[in-house]
């Protein structure tokens, strides 16, 4: 079955907005459950990590450049690089390696 791209986007938009708007409009008190708070605290890191590896090393033309970009990205982020510097460092690494190696 083929799906409609606009329906997909509508579903994505509706869910995303619901997530963003619910606490701002409905919740006025802090969540007290330590389990739920901890769970929500860990979720972003886990989901981003799951999406990053191994997808990142498979995204490039060669495995070597993907692995190198991962290592460089981790290093730059570790030493305080923000969103843009880390992303740029990864791109430059891949470009340079695929050009010269």
């Amino acid at each position: 079955m083929t799906h409609n791209i606009y329906l997909y986007l509508l579903v994505m938009a509706a869910v995303t907005y619901a997530i963003r708007v619910a606490p701002m409009t409905l919740l006025r008190k802090p969540i007290t459950s330590p389990f739920i708070r901890s769970f929500l605290y860990y979720v972003p890191y886990v989901t981003l990590a799951v999406m990053t590896f191994p997808a990142m090393v498979n995204a490039t033309q060669t495995l070597l450049s993907g692995v190198a970009a991962l290592i460089v990205g981790v290093a730059v982020a570790w030493f305080g690089g923000g969103l843009f510097p880390v992303a740029a460092a990864c791109c430059v690494t891949v470009y340079a390696l695929e050009l010269f190696v």
Binding site: T16, L40, Y41, T47, L48, M51, V86
Partner: protein
């Protein structure tokens, strides 16, 4: 905590000043967005998007990880309920941010502001908005939004259009930009918190394993992401309750 902090009266008069300050704060965010959303556009192009659809997904989504997950699902012709679930998981952190923001809204602020500000909660816009002392300033956030949001949407559309004009070496290089941005979010947190560092490693291993283990690897990428996220985060919450840091970190760092 800041609900009791007195708010200067001139706030009502200085909407224009706040808006201009917000515009200024939005410039570096917009530049970063442009580069990242361009690579998102390249991914969207390979999933069959046209430029308008690229513009649309970014204006409707305002979320790199969430949009990227959505693009993968569309490419895989996944079910609509998978899209809903994956979006829920990929964007779950905005629930935390919205929650943190709700605690910092002036009790007098209108529903209109709450509805509008919520729409634009992203890692960066959240960070600059909540980074100011006292109650949140809606007009400051709107200023930042007016620069950052168009950069995000237009960057995606340009990625769709120009992605195919670029040589393969450049496309290959840009394809890691998004993952680089993910690293920029998870690595600083891992550096500060050993539990997060352990979780990131576990997640990498589990994600790789789920892709090669027979049976599990047959599940769609989106479903694997959901299962891994819920299982690993729940286990972590059970064994390593985040306690107070779950509150302070979400406000300081995200």
């Amino acid at each position: 905590m800041s609900l009791t902090r007195p708010e200067p009266r001139k706030i009502i008069l200085s909407r224009r000043v706040l808006f201009l300050q917000g515009l200024k704060a939005g410039v570096p965010i917009g530049l970063g967005y442009f580069a990242v959303s361009f690579s998102l556009g390249i991914a969207a192009k390979s999933a069959g998007f046209n430029a308008f659809q690229g513009l649309l997904i970014s204006f409707l989504g305002h979320a790199s990880a969430g949009e990227y997950a959505a693009i993968t699902l569309i490419a895989a012709n996944a079910a609509y309920w998978e899209m809903a679930l994956v979006t829920l998981i990929a964007n779950a952190r905005y629930l935390l941010m919205s929650f943190a923001m709700s605690q910092r809204m002036s009790p007098a602020s209108s529903l209109r502001h709450r509805l509008l500000m919520s729409y634009f909660i992203t890692d960066e816009l959240f960070a600059v908005t909540i980074g100011r002392p006292g109650f949140l300033k809606p007009y400051y956030m709107y200023g930042a939004i007016c620069v950052a949001s168009p950069c995000w949407a237009v960057g995606t559309a340009l990625g769709v259009v120009a992605g195919q004009l670029l040589p393969i070496s450049v496309v290959s290089a840009l394809s890691v930009a998004l993952y680089g941005m993910f690293l920029a979010v998870i690595i600083p947190a891992a550096k500060k918190d050993k539990v997060v560092a352990g979780l990131v490693l576990c997640s990498f291993l589990a994600s790789w394993a789920a892709g090669v283990i027979p049976g599990v690897s047959a599940l769609s990428e989106g479903i694997r992401t959901i299962i891994l996220t819920v299982v690993i985060s729940a286990a972590a919450a059970f064994f390593f309750p985040a306690g107070a840091k779950a509150r302070t970190e979400e406000e300081a760092d995200t």
